[in-house]
């Protein structure tokens, strides 16, 4: 068979993803934004796929947000990255896996810098040794957690309880995929499929039964862009970016958005609420929004995990319409209950965006 077009580009950009024994580093912000995602990743890897994943509780931020907002100098970031590598070396691991896209970009940037400027590596080693007395080996393999899920996507599909198919019509669920900018726009060779046609999420969607939507602003930024958001007065840039994407995808009637970055699901989810409150505009049918999921949450849903264990109740755009379409069973009464059955409180319902469970 002759391979052409996007498939050829995907073939050209294939990266090596480790098979087992991962040293896992968490994101600074994801546990607040989407608290079930990282837990779901560990559960899938350890319990479902029986892989060895190790995380050291003394690992710190990679300093990526500070670096990209010009607060942390590169030498400091490099030393912090070196410390994470030292923790990995001490634990006896060689495969480094990050939860965060910006961390992944920063680790790639630091390793690339060291490759081209070995004196910078010496500098980082010296700083680290002077500050902490630690030494490190460079990882054999650096992958983002979505790369790892991508690698095991077929196993997940085989073990899966659900497929991304509308249970009433039998049609595949129409999914918009959104890749974090720091995944492959900085170093295309470090991402599955490169920068133009990143395949990492498409692979998951296709193997789990969904249909990927192509739309004009597909590669546009979600609107996070650190400096656009950190100052309140600048947030208009951020929400305008997200709105541009929503306006562009709306005619294709997406049923969900899948992301692999900490910031993208946050902004694509929360800005749908902000836009609805500011302009009265919602992007789904009948006043609903377009549910936004992380790849770990989607993998968890496919494997039949309880949606409330995955933390889907903290999404601003309710996910119930999507769960109903796929036929995933859930108990609406348990949405705002903690694991021990106690009430975790109920948020105030938005004015325009439909809220679940619907109030009588």
């Amino acid at each position: 068979m002759k391979i052409e077009g996007k498939k050829q580009i995907w073939n050209d950009y294939q990266k090596e993803i480790a098979e087992d024994h991962f040293f896992y580093v968490r994101s600074c912000i994801r546990q607040n934004f989407f608290p079930g995602s990282e837990k779901s990743f560990l559960r899938i890897m350890k319990e479902e796929l029986k892989k060895d994943v190790y995380e050291n509780p003394s690992h710190t931020t990679c300093s990526g947000i500070g670096y990209h907002t010009d607060i942390v100098p590169f030498e400091t970031s490099m030393t912090m990255v070196a410390r994470q590598f030292a923790l990995m070396t001490e634990a006896g691991y060689e495969n480094f896996t990050t939860s965060c896209i910006t961390s992944f970009g920063l680790y790639s940037e630091v390793l690339n810098t060291w490759e081209h400027e070995p004196e910078m590596e010496e500098k980082a080693r010296e700083f680290l040794y002077k500050a902490t007395g630690r030494e490190f080996k460079k990882p054999k393999n650096v992958s983002h957690a979505s790369d790892v899920i991508y690698r095991f996507r077929k196993e997940i599909a085989e073990k899966g309880k659900y497929r991304l198919v509308n249970k009433l019509t039998g049609e595949p669920i129409r999914v918009v995929e959104h890749i974090g900018c720091h995944y492959s726009k900085m170093f295309p060779s470090k991402g599955v499929g490169g920068a133009e046609y990143p395949y990492v999420l498409i692979g998951m969607i296709e193997d789990w039964g969904g249909e990927v939507i192509d739309y004009p602003e597909r590669r546009h930024c979600c609107g996070f862009g650190f400096r656009q958001y950190l100052v309140q007065a600048n947030r208009g840039f951020s929400v305008s970016c997200s709105k541009k994407k929503f306006d562009s995808m709306e005619p294709y009637q997406p049923e969900m958005i899948l992301t692999n970055c900490p910031g993208c699901p946050m902004f694509l989810d929360r800005w749908q609420y902000a836009i609805s409150e500011m302009e009265g505009k919602t992007y789904g049918p009948d006043g609903t929004g377009i549910p936004v999921l992380t790849y770990e949450e989607l993998a968890g849903l496919v494997l039949g995990h309880d949606p409330w264990d995955l933390g889907l109740q903290v999404h601003q755009v309710p996910v119930e319409p999507l769960l109903d379409k796929i036929g995933i069973s859930y108990d609406p009464e348990k949405k705002f209950k903690a694991a021990d059955g106690s009430d975790i409180g109920r948020p105030e319902a938005p004015v325009y965006l439909k809220f679940y469970p619907e109030q009588a």
Binding site: Q232, A233, N234, R235, G236, F237, V239, S240, K243, K244, D247, A274, I275, E277, M278, E279, G280, V351
Partner: protein
């Protein structure tokens, strides 16, 4: 509507599908010479009104072609119909007639732009 301390900027993307092309289609039907304009800008360079205000026939032409006809009526009122643009036009576009047809079209299409 709530205010969160920031606003949504309107997208400046030119959307040919969404923009209203009725006006340019009407004008082209009556004054086809507009099609041979190569946007050299001689009209704007020589324009008396443009010398004192921000009026520009070339910009008018571009906006008309794109279907971005918002505030068009207010814009063309700045033209004094002196016809100097027409004298310098290397393609011989009947520009004075063009302005008159736009006036006519706005009235005809009840286009309160």
């Amino acid at each position: 509507m709530k205010s969160f301390g920031y606003t949504i900027t309107k997208d400046r993307q030119i959307d040919y599908d969404a923009n209203d092309r009725r006006l340019i289609e009407y004008v082209e039907g009556i004054e086809p010479s507009i099609r041979i304009c190569m946007e050299c800008g001689s009209c704007s360079a020589t324009c008396t009104a443009g010398h004192f205000t921000d009026f520009s026939i070339r910009r008018l032409h571009t906006l008309l072609q794109r279907g971005e006809t918002l505030h068009l009526r207010k814009e063309i009122e700045k033209c004094m119909l002196c016809g100097k643009c027409q004298l310098v036009c290397p393609r011989g576009v009947n520009l004075r007639n063009l302005i008159l047809i736009i006036h006519q079209a706005l009235d005809k299409l009840h286009h309160d732009l």
